[in-house]
């Protein structure tokens, strides 16, 4: 069986790799929570629970990637 390029890419590239590849496009989601499955941004919203639930609903068998897109606030712990 021949796999499409998209299928092969989805098998080797993680959700975080996809996020890294977004470059400045990611800046459009600053301050928002996003959920990614394979190489698709499947949800965005104001809370992680909200995007997690949406992602699980769309892809019930997959483990979603959830993150808040950080702005340039100074973080000191």
């Amino acid at each position: 069986m021949v796999e499409s390029r998209e299928e092969m890419t989805a098998k080797t590239i993680s959700e975080f790799d996809f996020v890294l590849s977004m470059g400045d496009k990611l800046g459009e989601y600053v301050h928002q929570w996003i959920a990614v499955v394979d190489d698709k941004l499947v949800a965005k919203g104001r809370t992680p629970k909200e995007v997690y639930v949406k992602a699980r609903k769309k892809h019930p068998t997959r483990i979603p990637f959830v993150m808040k897109v950080p702005a340039d606030e100074v973080v000191l712990l």
Binding site: D17, L26, G27, T47, V66, M67, P70, A71, E73, L77
Partner: protein, 150 residues
């Protein structure tokens, strides 16, 4: 059963992008690694800041809701702005991932959770987790970091 040797050296790119909300563009460059978290039957992946300045590992309180963590104990942590209240909890599994492969796993990880919503926007991996398994070099201008397994 196959046995795969764990790589001695792992290099990860920084999370880097530019954005503009109002005024001039701003630049983000953060040493983030892909993190898997599991508690009970709840699991997801997210980003974790590799922070040599933090003695502990932190989890944003917003993520507690997804993991449904219980047995939260009152605690506190000291930051640059003084002492702030936290909960102490344990996460069943924390894995570090490169591409789709985990390159390290921690079990029963003790995490601090700031009680204030929005206090931290991402997981902070401090010297009690990732730094106990790796020597880490930051290449700030090349926007990458290298983990050398101990």
């Amino acid at each position: 059963m196959t046995w795969q040797k764990k790589p001695k050296s792992i290099t990860c790119k920084y999370l880097a992008y530019r954005f503009s909300l109002e005024g001039p563009p701003k630049y983000i460059r953060l040493p983030m690694v892909h993190v898997y978290l599991k508690s009970g039957d709840k699991e997801f992946t997210t980003i974790g800041l590799v922070d040599s300045g933090s003695t502990a590992t932190f989890l944003p309180c917003e993520l507690v809701e997804i993991l449904e963590l219980s047995n939260l104990q009152d605690s506190s942590a000291r930051g640059a702005g003084g002492v702030f209240p936290t909960w102490l909890a344990k996460v069943d599994v924390l894995k570090l991932i490169k591409h789709k492969e985990p390159f390290d796993t921690f079990q029963n990880v003790r995490v601090h959770i700031p009680k204030q919503t929005g206090a931290i926007p991402y997981v902070v991996l401090g010297r009690d987790t990732i730094f106990t398994h790796f020597d880490i070099t930051f290449y700030e201008n090349k926007r990458k970091m290298t983990f050398i397994r101990l």
